[in-house]
């Protein structure tokens, strides 16, 4: 049965208010929704980043679940240790509760510095969900480019200058990288699709084995838009197919949201200051290139879904 807002409103928020994240922050919305999704009690690890620094300024904490942070690049390795201890104590009869494990990291802590630890933990098969709240740059240190930053976006280390127009490279596709580990579940979603997010997180948490979820979490400061537009911006990412909502379950791709009418990429870029330079005269080709890139990736995804739906005995 589909999850309802009423059901969610009856659950206790496991990330309390009073933390110091910015108004309009997508990360806290992502974290709250994931925490609401679980049936089982959770233990959480957190990479260094906005979510961590703003929620646990000693002696305060916003977390109503057991939570651990140690370093930037090791949220996956840390939770794998927690989970290993859980398995050990359970096997020895020293612990009898059922607990599930979630790691949170931003895109910097996940796509970049933490990818080795993430890959290792996925390969080892620990029972955990890794959630990347993806705001497409190093926001905690002040909006520097990461490998999640999209082509042409301006950041403080890829500024729009007179000879360079923002980031010169395309972003890495981390969802596909994680899916390629052959894990039971990988998916991506935005905070605008709360029902999908909660349903996907629930599935990913409650299954046995490693799972990965990449949640597009807009950042008003870094993306340069007004704080009340966060959900609208996230929705535009879906409607332009910049950020398709899909899951890969045991290797099979299923797209969970297909816009009736795919909007042009300008609709997504226009409200964001980080793309403002693309709308200056002479930069039209950059928008064309970005549109072509998004179109190609969307087509590829549709093909992957088609393959998953094809009958197994097609050759015969």
């Amino acid at each position: 049965m589909a999850v309802t807002l009423k059901q969610l409103s009856e659950k206790q928020d496991l990330l309390s208010g009073g933390h110091r994240l910015c108004a309009g922050c997508g990360a806290s919305i992502a974290a709250r929704q994931v925490l609401l999704a679980a049936d089982s009690p959770l233990v959480v690890s957190n990479a260094t980043g906005c979510l961590e620094v703003a929620t646990t300024i000693f002696p305060y904490t916003a977390w109503r679940v057991p939570w651990i942070h140690s370093l930037f690049e090791n949220a996956a390795a840390t939770i794998s240790g927690v989970e290993a201890m859980y398995q050990s104590l359970k096997r020895q009869g020293k612990y009898d509760k059922k607990v599930k494990f979630v790691a949170f990291g931003g895109d910097g802590g996940t796509y970049d510095i933490g990818i080795q630890a993430l890959s290792g933990a996925l390969e080892r098969g620990h029972d955990f969900l890794y959630v990347c709240y993806d705001n497409q740059a190093y926001m905690n240190t002040g909006i520097q480019r990461s490998s999640a930053t999209p082509l042409s976006a301006a950041t403080t280390t890829t500024p729009a200058g007179s000879t360079r127009s923002g980031k010169l490279q395309q972003r890495k596709d981390l969802t596909q990288i994680c899916a390629a580990h052959g894990i039971p579940y990988a998916g991506q979603v935005t905070i605008a699709r709360w029902r999908d997010l909660v349903t996907m997180a629930h599935k990913a948490i409650e299954l046995d084995g490693p799972a990965f979820l990449c949640v597009l979490a807009p950042c008003p400061r870094g993306w340069r838009y007004d704080t009340d537009a966060t959900i609208d911006i996230a929705r535009l990412a879906m409607d332009t197919c910049v950020w398709p909502t899909y899951e890969v379950v045991n290797g099979d791709v299923k797209i969970l949201y297909k816009p009736k009418e795919k909007k042009p990429i300008q609709d997504w870029m226009k409200p964001q200051g980080r793309f403002a330079h693309l709308f200056r005269p002479g930069n039209e080709h950059l928008i064309v290139a970005a549109q072509a890139d998004i179109d190609r990736k969307w087509e590829q995804l549709l093909k992957l879904e088609e393959m998953a739906n094809a009958p197994a005995s097609a050759e015969a």
Binding site: P41, V43, S45, E52, V53, T56, I57, F58, P59, Y60, T61, W63, R64, V65, P66, W67, I68, H69, S70, L71, E73, N74, A76, A77, T78, I79, S80, G81, V82, E83, A84, M85, Y86, Q87, S88, L89, R91, Q92, K94, Y95, K97, V99, Q116, A117, S119, G120, A121, E123, R124
Partner: protein
């Protein structure tokens, strides 16, 4: 009662680990510590331990997983060397600051630049300020004994700090020696059950571990950590006494050898102490008043007992198996001289030796004693800091 066996240093660690039966071991292979992980994996594969063995993808993740596992309320151990320890470096500060009594075997190996797989103490010295307890072993017997004692030292409720059990790579990690080992049950009784404090798995009482600690609290937390260090010397002695009661072997913070009336003394860490003791014996046979003071517990640094042990000595030679470039003498020298300063007035000389596994001869050690005696006689020291056994 246990038995007497022939065993290699790394295998002795693995055997101790098997007998301790930790809840989680997270480790990554690296020469010369690899056999620890390898031999332990055999115990895991054959159901000899209850341990969850996490074969991680790097040492950084090894120590990170150890931290996570310790936070989940159980006994955790690992092993590494050189680059592995260097890669763990930032995690080591966390393990210590979070006060998790993780025990790590360190087969000491020279740090790369350039790559070398043999012994020196550069790896252990690199993390000497990280807040771990550091114990250095002289031989395979001590590796085995120290690994077992480390669990009780680190887990002591007045301490709760991680412990590094250091032993010279290849020199003793791969040396097959005769070792008296205990029964499994004796070891398990000696280390006792693990006391979990503030476990993440206590889901009814959720805690936040590792928060942001700013100008208003960080300093106090470091100060608390320093206080925990203060409890270590007494605990090390108590654990040594309890261990001696079990098997007769006693180790304190310091190992004083023929120091009573010594006028010239060498201070050092690790396996070279065995060679120095032989030199001392032969010089003593010639009527020379020489001794050796091996530091077993390097962190926290046993300054007070060290001053007491050296107070009557007329010249001290510190042998550092590490070259701290750009400083005035290597770390052991700096610690020893700083402890003695203002308390004793004898000259203290530093000899940096054995880098990258360079062998040290008895003749070279005799040369150190010759020089120390010369300094006593002449009252003059020309060079305080020098290298031993290097081609100039």
């Amino acid at each position: 009662m246990g038995e007497t066996i022939l065993i290699e240093g790394n295998a002795a660690v693995a055997l101790a680990l098997k007998q301790i039966n930790p809840d989680v071991v997270a480790a990554y292979p690296i020469t010369p510590a690899t056999e620890v992980v390898q031999e332990f994996s055999e115990y895991v594969a054959n159901g000899k331990v209850d341990t969850e063995f996490v074969a991680v993808e790097s040492e950084h993740s090894a120590m990170s997983a150890c931290i996570g596992a310790a936070a989940a309320g159980g006994r955790v151990m690992t092993a590494t060397s050189a680059q592995g320890l260097a890669l763990m470096w930032e995690c080591m500060y966390l393990a210590a600051s979070l006060r998790y009594p993780i025990v790590m075997a360190l087969a000491n190996r020279a740090l790369s630049g350039n790559i070398n797989i043999h012994c020196d103490h550069g790896d252990g010295m690199g993390c000497r300020d990280s807040g771990w307890i550091q114990i250095y072993c002289e031989n395979t017997q001590e590796i085995y004994d120290n690994t077992i004692q480390a669990v009780r030292i680190g887990e002591h409720l007045g301490v709760r700090l991680p412990v590094l059990v250091c032993y010279d790579g290849f020199v003793i990690s791969h040396a097959v020696e005769v070792v008296d080992v205990l029964d499994d049950s004796e070891v398990r009784d000696f280390v006792g059950p693990y006391t979990a404090l503030n476990s993440l798995l206590n889901i009814d009482n959720p805690i936040s571990v590792g928060p942001l600690d700013l100008q208003d609290y960080y300093f106090e937390h470091k100060r608390n950590h320093a206080e925990a260090y203060k409890a270590v010397p007494d605990v090390v002695e108590d654990v040594a006494d309890a261990f001696a009661k079990l098997c007769g072997r006693h180790y304190g913070a310091l190992d004083e050898y023929r120091m009573d009336d010594a006028e010239a003394a060498i201070v050092l860490l690790g396996s070279t102490a065995g060679t120095v003791k032989d030199v001392v014996d032969s010089l003593r046979n010639q009527g020379r008043k020489v001794g050796v003071l091996r530091i077993r517990m390097f962190r926290p640094f046993p300054a007070e007992p060290l001053v007491k042990a050296l107070s009557h000595v007329k010249a001290v030679g510190v042998m550092d198996r590490h070259a701290a470039l750009g400083t005035y003498g290597a770390p052991l020298f700096a610690d020893v001289r700083s402890a003695l300063y203002g308390r004793c007035s004898m000259p203290v000389l530093d000899y940096m030796y054995g880098l990258g596994g360079r062998e040290i001869s008895m003749a070279e050690i005799r040369g150190v004693y010759d020089e120390l005696e010369q300094v006593v006689k002449s009252g003059a020291t020309e060079t305080r800091i020098q290298y031993l056994g290097v081609r100039e």
